[in-house]
Symmetry: C2
Subunit: 149 residues, 2 copies
DNA sequence: TCCTGAACCTCTAGTCCTTGGAGATTTAGG
DNA sequence: CCTAAATCTCCAAGGACTAGAGGTTCAGGA
């Protein structure tokens, strides 16, 4: 029998977060003492470790919800779990791709500036005008510039 | 003179977002018509483009706030702008590093599973036990496991 | 000049995933 | 039995938007 504090320390998940997981249904409602305090057993710890590990690996709460229900039916085929993981991998790769573009662009921006007056700063100049960018990072957009005044 | 809708289309920033930027002080309060509608001029568009471009490049709103005030004083030295950009670059690199670890780990997890029953799924098994991981991705944590029951 | 429908206004609340605090109660140890 | 630590519930914030409800204003055409 564990208090929420012990569970928190053991799993490395903050106490309010555990209560939050219970609220959104990721963690089951545990037994309570007569004084209404939560008491956890080993199975709760395992589940919480699973959740935290999956979160650390970038899975969304919704994905984890699905993974947990798959875990609960060991005889079902695991295609779904594999697909969820593959989707997450694809997400991670997409994020890396985007961040690499940013990295390249920021390297360029930073290296271009010799460090003079703000009025001639290439950092500021490039931020003011995407045309000075060397890559098509992020959500590009071409306005038609029919703007007077 | 532009309406907020025209500004929105031209800059590629949603109307509520423009109002939000005004609320948090990133965009100045524009002139209003007699009927209380916002009317923007060219300077507003330039500023909004700057903001959106910086956001696309990963700068935080706070960083942009600083960059904008630097832009307003062209005679000041630009060290601060350069440092803000360098910090952002460091942030982006840190994110990439973390995501690459996740990518490696997810590749491993996904490749390990032959696709059988959920009870033997390596995706689920690895999520349940970080010891099966090949890298030290994310926020590792070693519990002392003095847990009974 | 009037009408209409699109665009605008303010205000509130929701998103996602936690995290922190206030004030009241329970627990465990001495 | 007393006290200090931990727990309880409820509410709010964080970052950066986004979406609606309900009401008003604008611009183009008949
Ligand atoms: Zn500079
Ligand atoms: Zn750019
Ligand atoms: Zn599998
Ligand atoms: Zn792991």
């Amino acid at each position: 029998m564990m208090t929420i504090g012990k569970l928190s320390d053991t799993a490395g998940v903050k106490v309010p977060t555990i209560r939050y997981y219970e609220e959104i249904g990721l963690m089951p409602e545990p037994e309570r003492t007569e004084g209404n305090q939560r008491r956890y057993v080993r199975a709760h710890l395992d589940r919480l470790n699973f959740i935290r590990h999956a979160r650390d690996l970038g899975f969304s709460v919704e994905a984890i919800r699905d993974l947990l229900s798959l875990q609960a039916t060991p005889d079902a085929p695991c295609h779904d779990a594999d697909r969820i993981a593959a989707d997450n991998l694809a997400d991670v790769r997409a994020k890396i791709a985007r961040l690499k573009k940013l990295e390249a662009e920021l390297e360029h921006i930073v290296s271009e500036c010799a460090g003079g007056r703000a009025g001639e700063c290439n950092v500021l100049a490039t931020l003011a005008d995407h045309a000075l960018c060397v890559t098509n990072h992020g959500h590009a957009h071409n306005p038609l510039d029919n703007v007077s005044n």
